[in-house]
Chain length 169, copies 2
DNA sequence: GGCCCTTCCTTGAACTTTGAACAAACCATG
DNA sequence: CATGGTTTGTTCAAAGTTCAAGGAAGGGCC
């Protein structure tokens, strides 16, 4: 697509190295995502994202979380979460409860069935992740990956308005 | 989810560092994916994957590719591609043509309209990628990311049956 | 040619995601 | 304590993805 003028002057195209990095990134992430989706669909009967929701709940105190909390943790929209929880509820792995302190609120709660599914499928999932990712990387690469991904994630977070400057709100 | 026996002995759970890396990876990739999807949906009227298809076509000789080729390049299923191309065809950015050498085959061809859309939106897309990824990383980190992603991608490619051992087929 | 197996691509149904729109509850302010 | 703006979670419809099934063409082999 390169050489062509444009409204705001010539854009800085990706050079050869950058293009290779970007393509590798795109390919690796789609392959890994598909791989884990298939693995979990097969072994747990749910997509990767839904599995992640159960994990979040299992880590939370009393295995419950406000919908919005859960959505924030998973970086997904509330709409998407609503649908997902509805589905997980139908499967019997999550149930909802009204939030006592805020009548608008809903709590998503991991059921015992949900916990069992997680316990049963977590080992297989972890080894899939290891096999596809960690086992192939040196310790330095793992560290580097962590740093890079942390930077990228932080750069894309809709920054908490005044989270660190509360007096300016 | 950690301490619990399991069928095949105690699985090797992710340790603290590994968990942090994995979470950062998941968060960064979903945030980046959503970010670019929204960017392209807004500016080009299509999801990121579809944009990628147009890019592939624009890079191909005569701006055309067999469906299977295209699917392989993008690491997606032929089914998904079929639907996607159908949509892009409806938008007028791609058209199909029968493959002359193989009557089963279809060629996906980038139309002039498709090319124009690409030319118009590529600069904005590139700067989104830069801003979200490259501009935040040191040259060393970019290099490292490329290496890591290449390793992961290669590990997940359904290895070309006998591509390097053709005599064993 | 006839047979069988494979590859190529499409299709339809089920499922998931998106984005806009909405009602209910909260809350800051006057 | 009213009022207007915000937050919470859901809903609908449209769009995208998955998976299994299937028709058509290629290709090896007798």
């Amino acid at each position: 697509m390169p050489p062509t003028p444009s409204p705001a002057g010539e854009p800085r195209w990706l050079d050869g190295d950058e293009q290779r990095v970007w393509r590798a990134y795109l390919q690796a992430t789609t392959l890994l995502d598909d791989y884990l989706d298939r693995q979990l669909q097969r072994d747990a009967g749910m997509p990767h994202m839904y599995y992640g929701l159960l994990v979040q709940l299992s880590d939370a105190p009393r295995r419950r979380l406000r919908m919005t909390e859960l959505a924030k943790n998973m970086k997904i929209t509330r709409s998407r979460l609503s649908h997902a929880v509805a589905r997980l509820e139908k499967s019997g792995w999550v149930r909802r409860e009204d939030c006592p302190s805020d009548k608008r609120g809903q709590l998503a709660i991991l059921t015992d069935d949900g916990y069992e599914v997680l316990r049963g499928t977590a080992p297989g999932h972890v080894s899939a992740v290891r096999q596809a990712l960690f086992d192939r990387l040196t310790p330095e690469q793992q560290k580097s990956l962590g740093e890079i991904m942390t930077i990228v994630a932080e750069g894309l977070q809709p920054k908490e308005a005044g989270a660190d400057l509360p007096w300016l709100r």
